[in-house]
Symmetry: C2
Subunit: 251 residues, 2 copies
C-alpha cells in the first residue's frame, strides 16, 4: 500500500532576499508548519520583484504540487506586484475584493483613512478568498491551490495560524536526531546500510565541529512511528557497537 504524500512549494518573492540585505525566515517557518499539517515542502524558489519571474515559478510549481505558497510583495508600494503576477499566471483579472476593502476601511478608519495606495492592498486575483491577518490591515489570499502570504515573517506566521487545520494532508513526517562524536566519513557504510534496511525511512547526516571535537547529527525521518523508532534504535546500537560515544545532550 503506497502512502499518499502531499507536497507544497514556496515561491519567495523579494529583491531584499536576493540582495543579501534580509535573511529569509519564511522557508524554515513554512516548512515546520507544513510538517505539522502532514504536507512536505518539496521545493522553494526565490525570485526577484519581476512579473515574468514570478509567473514562471508559480505556474510550474502550482501544477506539480498539491499546494503552492508565495511570500512577499503584497504591500501598498510600487514594488508589490505579487497580486498582478499571480492573476497573470492564472489568466484572470485583478479586482478589488469587497471584504478586503471593508477590512482595510475598518483598520485605517483611525489611521488617516483608506487612500488609493492603501486600497492597493484590497486587490486580488478574481475568485480569491481572504486569509485573515490579525497583525495589520492587509489580508492574505487563497486562489485555487495558491496561498499568497505576507513577506514579513510574523505576519506570515499569523496567516499560517489562520490556515492551521484547513489543508488536507497525510501523516506528518516524524524525526529522531541522534548526536554522536564521530566523523561522518567513519560510519558512512553504517548509515547507508541502515537506511537500506528500513524502507520508508530516510537518514540525513549533518556534521558539526564543537568543543574541539568532530561530531555529526543523524536525522532519521519517517511517517510510521514504530518504523522510525526501530530504525533509530538500530542506528544507535550500530554506533555503540563500533565504540562511538553519543552526544550527552542528545544533539
Amino acid at each position: 500500500m503506497q502512502e499518499r504524500i502531499w507536497t507544497a512549494a514556496l515561491v519567495v518573492i523579494g529583491d531584499e532576499i536576493l540582495s543579501g540585505r534580509t535573511q529569509d525566515r519564511n522557508v524554515a517557518q513554512l516548512a515546520s508548519w507544513l510538517n505539522v499539517q502532514g504536507i512536505r515542502l518539496a521545493e522553494v524558489r526565490v525570485v526577484p520583484d519581476v512579473q515574468a519571474a514570478i509567473v514562471e515559478a508559480v505556474t510550474t510549481l502550482r501544477l506539480r504540487n498539491d499546494y503552492c505558497f508565495t511570500t512577499g510583495g503584497i504591500g501598498p508600494t510600487h514594488d508589490d506586484i505579487t497580486v498582478d503576477a499571480i492573476a497573470a499566471a492564472l489568466g484572470v483579472p485583478v479586482e478589488i475584493h469587497p471584504d478586503a476593502r471593508a477590512m482595510l476601511e475598518g483598520y485605517y478608519a483611525s489611521r488617516g483613512g483608506l487612500t488609493e495606495a492603501r486600497l492597493r492592498m484590497a486587490r486580488a486575483p478574481q475568485g480569491a478568498q481572504l486569509i485573515p491577518n490579525r497583525m495589520s490591515g492587509a489580508p492574505g489570499l487563497q486562489v485555487g491551490n495558491l496561498f499568497i502570504l505576507a513577506g514579513v515573517p510574523h505576519i506570515a506566521a499569523g496567516m499560517l495560524d489562520a490556515l492551521t487545520g484547513t489543508l488536507e494532508g497525510g501523516r506528518p513526517v516524524l524525526s529522531r536526531t541522534i548526536g554522536c562524536w564521530v566523523a561522518e566519513s567513519e560510519i558512512a557504510d553504517l548509515l547507508a546500510d541502515t537506511e537500506r534496511a528500513y524502507q520508508g525511512v530516510s537518514i540525513g547526516s549533518y556534521p558539526f565541529f564543537r568543543e574541539g571535537r568532530v561530531g555529526a547529527n543523524f536525522v532519521v525521518r519517517a511517517t510510521d512511528p514504530a518504523r522510525l523508532e526501530t530504525c533509530a534504535a538500530a542506528l544507535s546500537d550500530g554506533l555503540a557497537a563500533r565504540g562511538f560515544e553519543p552526544v550527552a545532550d542528545g544533539i
Copy 2:
C-alpha cells in the same frame, strides 16, 4: 549605452533546509559576496537530495545565468549526491580527481587514513577544477560555469574566499538605506515617482514596527554612485518636505 549585467543563480541542495530543521545561511552569504564581485544573484532554488530535482534546477539555471552555484551534498555519506547529479546534468562521467585525492590523503594521514567513504569526497565531474577548502579536507569544484560548494556555511565561506576576484563581473550594485517614521502606504506615490524619475535606480520599501511606532526602510540601489546619491537625496528631501521624521540611527 546599456550596462552589461552579470548574473548568478544558486541551487541549495538539502533535505535539512526543506524540512525546516536547518535555517539556510548560504543565500544571504552568497548574495553579499556576489555583490562585491559585481554579480547579481538572480534566482535561487532549494531542492531535495534527489538527483532528478538537482539535474532540473542546475540545467535550467546554468544556461540562463553567467554563473551557477550549488551548496550542499558534497560530503562522504549516502545522502551526498551532488557530484553525481551534476555529472548527469552535464552528461560527463564521475572520476576520482587526482589532486583532490592527494589533498584528502594528506588531510587524513593523521586522522585514520583515506577510507573508501572518504575517497568519495575526491569524486568530481570530468573536467572539474578544485576550489581550495582550508577548513576541512574536501575541496569544492568548478566545472564550466558551475561552482560546487559545501553546505556548511563557514566552509562555503572559505571556498568563496578562495574564489574572490577570480570571476568576471560588472560594477557592484551600491545601496543607500533611508529609515523613516512613516507608514509606507502614506508615501507610495513618492516612492513610485522618485524611482520613475531616476532610470537605473530601484527603490525597495521594507516596513517595520518598533518602539511602538510604524516605520519603513527605503533601500535605493544603483551601480552609478552619483545617480544613487542624487536619487537618495531626492527621496530624503521628499520625505522631509511632507514632514516625516528620519530614523535617528539611519535605519
